[in-house]
Symmetry: C4
Amino acid sequence: MGHHDQATETKGTSRIEAFSDGVFAIAITLLVLDLIQMLHALPAQGGLEGLFHHWQPYFAFTVGFVTILVCWINHHVALEYMEKVDTGFLWVNGTLLFLVTITPFTTAILAEYLGEEPRAAMAIYAINYVLISISADAICSYAYARHLVREGSRDFYRHYKKIYRYAIFYNLLALLCCSFSILIPQVMFAVLFLVFSSPKSVARWIQHRSKTGRRMK
Amino acid sequence: MGHHDQATETKGTSRIEAFSDGVFAIAITLLVLDLIQMLHALPAQGGLEGLFHHWQPYFAFTVGFVTILVCWINHHVALEYMEKVDTGFLWVNGTLLFLVTITPFTTAILAEYLGEEPRAAMAIYAINYVLISISADAICSYAYARHLVREGSRDFYRHYKKIYRYAIFYNLLALLCCSFSILIPQVMFAVLFLVFSSPKSVARWIQHRSKTGRRMK
Amino acid sequence: MGHHDQATETKGTSRIEAFSDGVFAIAITLLVLDLIQMLHALPAQGGLEGLFHHWQPYFAFTVGFVTILVCWINHHVALEYMEKVDTGFLWVNGTLLFLVTITPFTTAILAEYLGEEPRAAMAIYAINYVLISISADAICSYAYARHLVREGSRDFYRHYKKIYRYAIFYNLLALLCCSFSILIPQVMFAVLFLVFSSPKSVARWIQHRSKTGRRMK
Amino acid sequence: MGHHDQATETKGTSRIEAFSDGVFAIAITLLVLDLIQMLHALPAQGGLEGLFHHWQPYFAFTVGFVTILVCWINHHVALEYMEKVDTGFLWVNGTLLFLVTITPFTTAILAEYLGEEPRAAMAIYAINYVLISISADAICSYAYARHLVREGSRDFYRHYKKIYRYAIFYNLLALLCCSFSILIPQVMFAVLFLVFSSPKSVARWIQHRSKTGRRMK
């Protein structure tokens, strides 16, 4: 009786954080392997200056690092307000980790093809980021809907999770722009990283505006 | 006197969890190296579309990721009910980690040979999975027999550990099917992942059925 | 009201330590991949002695290992006195991790070019280390200025953070020396590692000297 | 006054455990990259059976895995009785991690040269293991001498640390045997792993024998 409803019994967030931290830390560190690979692929007699003939690998390394760091910071904040996880959450979280794990691959594509096929390379990166924002939205919505968030933080979390919903549409727009430009999506992603570098401030600003708005009516 | 019986004195589960989480996290993230390797192996003038001539690497990446994630989730649940570990358990657990560490290799075999020798590649993957289920069964049986499980959870754990016993035979069957088909074992593993995506629900269902059955008699 | 001032609300240091530990641990372990790569690049018939024709890879491996270990030990000490982090600190810390992640690359450059272009290879390593010391200084100054340090340790921390300020100028000097020598910067870095192998002792010596100095006046 | 004596002020063991666990976990998982590399080096038309022409890579993988797992288990036990660490211990521990990090390299040498130059390949592995046992002895002796071990466990630890002293001489003997045989050192290492698979039992047996001995006199 009722045994199925309890199937999602909860546990603390510490071990899922440890596993996720491991995946984030490895994905972010693996990026350097592409630079090392470039080093070994240099012609033997070329000399050290051959390292600086192409700027794309360094650009891609930096983009990949910032991308994963922003994801980690937002993951950090999203789980900070949660007090427990259920088995379903392990899967929603696993989907995000899947996309984070793929990021070194889309970054390597950027490094290799930004010179020759910039729009296509940018679009692949953008698709990855659209999926990441969908899965970030799923994490927050799931945690909110299943009451995994601490009671005292529910009101804030309701506003907080909105920013990931907005991000989906923003990233879809950036993806569309890849069809005619590579500068516009780059600027858009730079702005996005700036906004999501401090997700709490943004969420507080939304919360504040919504209260002020209600008070005004 | 009696010093040998105490040789298996116990310690908390936190450090074995941290080490295991590290191994799981690295094994799951290393999978992407195969995609990156495929990227670098592309002919220079081929262009970005060469990335999509073969679907096997992506299929193998996804299979490998889900395989290791399912293992991690079940490892998570199996250790959740334990309050201590002994030295013997470190070795039983080490055997599972050995097989998890091999998984990126069997997955790379899938990616490389699924096109040309699908049944053999599938069989190698299946052998790995049979061994994983044997070692998952060993973990639970060992923890139960050595009273490493919390007293209050022993009754549930007795039912819980059954699912890994069943899984051995199920996976052996899937392995046999590799001799004449590759579709059947794929469907069987998909069903398996679905069932073990939420091992607690299944264990509760077994526990419930066994109680109902006894009551009926 | 005042919601923006609180935008940097604080959290404990455990998760940022776990993530940073992961990055340090992976960066330090990835160094071995360069030795393994050298092994596979040996001509098949050359035999095992071919492994010892070049000492540079082993030198670079050791330098890279000690570099990252010294960084980790200092990171460990710097965070030991902190009781909380804010979002800004995640970014200052992220900058250090970025540079730590690059270290296996600058180390690989050392291994490859120390024979042919020693000064340039050494200079690249030195630039990396100047940036690391700037970012270590930033971590300590930020933590001190934003009151993330435990109240009881503030006095000690004020002296402690000085050593990273000094290190910037010391490393800049070492970088300059790369233009005419490779021995001098090597000796300078060896001395630096010795000093920063036990940052607390140095900080205590500075604290002691400053107190004695004041008393004397 | 006395500020220098306190220079080795202590901290808990949790963060050094996390960092060490990371290094162990990564070193043990990197071993699989050698198997994957072998897979990619196979001739394209050779087929899957080419994977089984050589047994050395699998042997080396297993040896490397067991080696690092035994190190981790003994590290686990050695730190279990410690309540604090000082800065010097971070360096003694760092030396062990250095040798653990090298293990995938000596293992790769085994895989590559066990067929052609078995004694030399075995000797390199044995040198690595001699150094590991010296550094394990250093860890225990340092922890005991600097009173980092919990008071209640000091008596047991005094016996416990002896086993790593014995291991140094045992491994030196195994190294010498590499000059005329490869079977003898293999058997010796197998026995060693068996003994150190449960270091507490062995330490208890030594403690028991020493007490019985004293009583008899």
